[in-house]
Subunit: 336 residues, 2 copies
């Protein structure tokens, strides 16, 4: 089995490399691809170094079983044919193909079986904010179908890439030194601020990031009747996203039922002990795999539930979910 | 007219002093009170200095018309009688008396008339998160009664006091210098983190801060049928609080109606032009008086509206509202 990482020098690419280093997938050969800028640089891997190859229209992916692609939407669109033409399955982390009818959008805990129906050899990885939300909604949905979701996000700098993370640190260093902070990767200064604007605005005045949560949730959960209203906000945090969620189901689900469902759900860790000040926070959850759930309680303004989730945007929100899609396909192929 | 500020050395006390310096209230004499720790220190005011007197059970408030009190709930309870016994009207910024039936809870734009019925000479200033929310909800409520509110907050360090603001700055300075950040005023490190826990937990697993938004909204808006479910979160921001709000009214209110109502509403500034990246953010709104509203759009998971508000917690969220209560009483007495 041969694997390629496209966008190996980026924040998500590096995270995939780290997950593979931990032994998440068996493989014979690992190839790394990147832009002209990163090509030629070497990434450490298991005591050796792997050189990043430049991705071009002549790049040869024959023999590569899976390509994990995290290089932005325009690169995914431009090189999808180059990557998949010899049968390579492309796990794409961008939003480019997510809503295409012939591209499955997969969170293995929820709709892993969809990964086997990929006529274009492209499988899309959902947006980070959607992944952690649906992993938490899914156990509730199994008790009674989810009807309405309201969600406010607290999104880390990592969602905007490695350079954005550097920029947030630099902004704080500038402020401590009494210098004007440099702003480039975000719309405005993020240090000591929150910005209610991620990705571009759409016609209904929601941002594209907010509408991803609306559309992707329906597709992953196979339900056109789940309605999601999101407010997505960037906060001065490094890696993990937090979400305040209210969910309404067809029949009311009690707090006790929900807690039990969260405890049993794959990929979910319930961290909910107010008396012990135990609830998930991004600083603690950075670098961890599961979706953490806490603050579970009755929705005082409806018949549903309120809860809080935190998950590392670079792990389950991106790199880990992509690797898990590959694991899922391998397992299902073996058991087929 | 004579005025006293109790807790003059604290974050809110200093802000009241700055508002009075700007000429917000006419007065002949201004007295400052504080704890044993701050007593004797001098506060600059209009080119002079006013010494902070120690608040004791022998403090004499006779002749003081209004005392603006921001020294914490236990001080308010202990000294309420000392302050009010000679007819002084106490505007209390703590949560101690807010839900007492014989203590009005006042946001002048909404229920200013309640300030005239204060049999105990105590008027309570609502919690910061409630004030900015009800100022924004009130114009919607005038179109059609508000039924349900879901709100996620992004609360600044200032809500925890002046020392907490210092601690956040120090945490960032420590991190830039490679030192372990010092944690004292917050439950956990706030720098590069968000904490879904403000004030203590109550029996229903909501925090007291969240339940303040539930109870205080009903009292201020004179409606027992408004239901509020809040998730209150501390974020690494200095002064202004942000809130993501979803509101459902008896009959649906359109985005256009809501925008027009926000534009006309007293104390509200509509800052909502997505194409120009115009929406309120705490970094811009710090030090300003109004409640800013932006991101107004249809609730995609209900029949209501979604919007975003930002307001300076120390201004409209505390000091300014207290001063406006005094202004309101003076005006209503004159016109009576």
């Amino acid at each position: 089995m041969n694997i390629a990482i496209v966008g190996a020098g980026g924040a998500v690419g590096r995270e995939i490399l780290s997950i593979l280093e931990g032994g998440a997938l068996p493989f014979d050969n690992l190839r790394l691809f990147g832009s002209a800028r990163s090509a030629g640089s070497k990434m450490p891997f298991r005591g050796q170094e792997i050189e990043i190859e430049q991705l071009t229209h002549d790049s040869d992916f024959s023999g590569v079983d899976f390509a994990l692609v995290s290089a932005g939407g325009s690169t995914s669109i431009e090189y999808a044919d180059v990557i998949t033409r010899h049968g390579t399955v492309m796990i794409d982390n961008s939003s480019a193909f997510r809503m295409d009818a012939d591209v499955p959008l997969v969170v293995p805990e929820i709709n892993g079986e969809d990964a086997l129906k990929a006529p274009r050899n492209i499988i899309a990885n959902p947006n980070c904010t959607t992944i952690q939300m649906v992993v938490a909604l899914s156990p509730i949905n199994r008790i009674s179908p989810v009807k309405r979701v309201h969600v406010a996000t607290y999104q880390a700098a990592s969602g905007a890439g490695a350079l954005a993370m550097d920029e947030l640190i630099q902004q704080h260093a500038d402020l401590v030194a009494g210098r004007e902070p440099h702003v480039e990767k975000f719309a405005y200064q993020l240090a000591y601020n929150v910005i209610p604007h991620i990705d571009v605005f759409t016609d209904n005045d929601y941002t594209k990031e907010e509408m991803k949560m609306y559309h992707e949730t329906k597709k992953i959960m196979h339900s056109s009747s789940i309605e999601v209203s999101a407010t997505c906000v960037r906060v001065p945090v490094m890696r993990a996203h937090s979400e305040a969620i209210w969910v309404e189901t067809e029949r009311p689900v009690s707090v006790e039922e929900a807690r039990e469902a969260f405890m049993k759900a794959p990929g979910v860790v319930l961290m909910d002990d107010p008396a012990a000040k135990a609830y998930p926070m991004p600083l603690d959850i950075a670098g961890k795999d599961p979706v953490y759930v806490g603050r579970v309680r009755r929705d005082l303004a409806g018949s549903g539930l309120a809860f809080w989730t935190v998950s590392d945007q670079l792990r389950k929100g991106a790199a880990l979910n992509a690797v898990q899609i590959v694991q899922c396909i391998i397992k299902k192929r073996h058991s087929a």
